[in-house]
Subunit: 151 residues, 2 copies
DNA sequence: GTTAAATACGACATATTTTGTCGTATTTTC
DNA sequence: GAAAATACGACAAAATATGTCGTATTTAAC
């Protein structure tokens, strides 16, 4: 089954939620968890991962929270998935460590490499702002917007 | 992590293996299992599922086996995945029975519907013969081939 | 007609991955 | 100092994927 995981869903929900606010306004993990009625801990961790990758920035302590630190026009689904779920590998045979035990007799390795490449391209071409239909006030302010997103 | 599963891999390996033979020649599950050094039972079941969906046909008894019963030019990856792994649903919220518990407060449902549609289109456009680079003697014989597969 | 080789298929067992929880530390405001 | 927040590793639980077993059935060969 080809399925995106919860972490990526949470990340998308977070970005959607935060993008509705003014860029300077902070958002807490609790706030998002309450809003989507999801598990606080997991959502908090996803947001922390996004801080590591500089998609968000955080302020600690009382009154702390997170704010957007990236242009959602330039962020794509491949990157976001990588941030929260690690490298996108269509099949096991691609990862370095524990490579697939069938690989020595596999008759479809090259097709799978091709397929993996195509799938990565597919996800890379999907911008988050387009996907989530975000007007993106931050990006409009901080960076030149190359093309208007239609629809 | 977006990853195709073993069953789909086995199905592709089976088709690749079988397509190298003359259309009339039978292939046993054991033969494929030996060739790719994979688990016989699982591979046999995948082949049986392919019989159900009429991608293969089978002959029972000693000297029995499977043979191709479909045009691999017309078979696409979406269909093949569906046959061996059930419906392709990007996210849980789409399936009828146990729908996602977050759906009532989800703020990204419509984007996910769109994404799911795009992903399905992506897989539907990938023909098996193209993916596996199969010359497809069966289809060349039994059906008119619309366009030659380049590369 | 018995045996052997094969498909057919449900039930179960195991392994892997995903998802969520807990505990604890740290930062900052009040 | 207390409270509200991020930070983060370790573990637990749940879900899913994968593989195995047992048994039935079909058919060819002997």
């Amino acid at each position: 089954m080809v399925r995106i995981n919860r972490k990526l869903e949470y990340a998308l929900m977070v970005l959607k939620y935060m993008s509705a606010k003014a860029p300077s306004e902070l958002t807490t993990a609790k706030e998002v968890a309450d809003f989507i009625k999801g598990p606080f801990d997991t959502i908090a961790k996803v947001m922390q991962q996004m801080v590591h990758s500089e998609l968000l920035r955080s302020e600690q302590g009382v009154q702390g929270g997170y704010f957007l630190a990236t242009n959602l026009n330039k962020l794509n689904l491949f990157k976001l998935n990588e941030v929260v779920s690690g490298p996108m590998e269509l099949v096991k045979c691609f990862d370095e460590d524990h490579h697939c035990e069938l690989s020595s007799h596999c008759n479809i390795q090259s097709p799978l490499v091709t397929l993996n490449r195509k799938l990565i391209d597919f996800f890379q071409e999907l911008s988050i702002s387009e996907l989530l239909r975000i007007k993106s006030p931050l990006s409009a302010k901080s960076q030149s917007v190359k093309k208007e997103v239609a629809g």
